[in-house]
Point group: D3
Chain length 72, copies 6
């Protein structure tokens, strides 16, 4: 009976990327814990940049300064 919530900043996540996250997480849980996918629910929640704070700053401010969350 797994339930997964994925929270990410709203920065152009596509429908295809969401499907990849949903399929990938469901498969990971199914493979690791042997859970029936029909009992696995995944919810993605996109958060506005003004509403996410990191290190005491709004992400919208960090982005204005050119600071991204991209992989190095």
């Amino acid at each position: 009976m797994p339930y997964v919530k994925i929270e990410v900043t709203r920065e152009g996540v596509t429908r295809e990327q969401k499907q990849t996250l949903i399929k990938g997480t469901t498969d990971l849980i199914s493979d690791t814990l042997n859970k029936d996918p029909h009992l696995t629910h995944i919810v993605i929640q996109e958060i506005e940049l003004d509403d996410w704070g990191y290190a005491g700053e709004q992400v919208s401010v960090l982005r204005e300064k050119g600071i991204t969350a991209n992989k190095k």
Copy 2:
């Protein structure tokens, strides 16, 4: 001091249905646990169909295939 979060797919839930969920959940908790309703908060969160995954598929895709969540 109860707090309840109800997450449902965004598929035309009306204001009246939300009020029914809020009143019903508050009464259920009050009747079962003897809690003062003035300490009970209920939050409903509607989730876009692209953002909810079930059995590894986006609900938006399931709906396109004619698969609903309706009671049988």
Copy 3:
């Protein structure tokens, strides 16, 4: 596809009361939104009294002062 989280203070909630909350919430959602109960998951989370704050005070402190959450 509903998911419900019920958070209450840990103050002797019995197994039977939990079952009543689970059955009642599932029925309420099924009756109100016509949702298949096989797609409805309910999670109850009990919170220690030191870990719940109300009006700026720990509930454990409120209880020591004789302030309950009981219905009036």
Copy 4:
């Protein structure tokens, strides 16, 4: 590794107020628990008035009756 979710009703919270909440919560956790702010994430979620229930009533209905959440 703290994560904080702040849920408030959507009633005109400004960008500056959000920044104040983010900075204040991050500092509070850093000062109290000695946590590195670079490991602290804060998420603010605004909830529509129809979607928040208090004492068994939608907040939108409470507001129509002139009942606010303002400090006395």
Copy 5:
């Protein structure tokens, strides 16, 4: 800035399985959304069987009846 919460029933999930879930989810998000893993936090929450309800029944009751969540 992703944050992920994974809720599963407490049924003998091992430390190694948790590590697999954490590594797998972080990699999935990094690969799909190009996110820096140093900004990705995963929280696993195990839920007692009396506290998870499915189809209106406590999972502890379902297990007593021999109904599992195993993949078919």
Copy 6:
């Protein structure tokens, strides 16, 4: 009607520190948004080190390597 959830790793947070977090968060919200503290609920949830993942690793593993979350 604010509700706040604070998730931190379980690493010896004291009752007094929890009270400081509860009082501080409630005051911050009251001062910033003019909210009545009697409508503000704060929930602290401590997470076991095996259950929190950061940068793809369990925090328990990071701590064994001597990597802390302390402020620099």
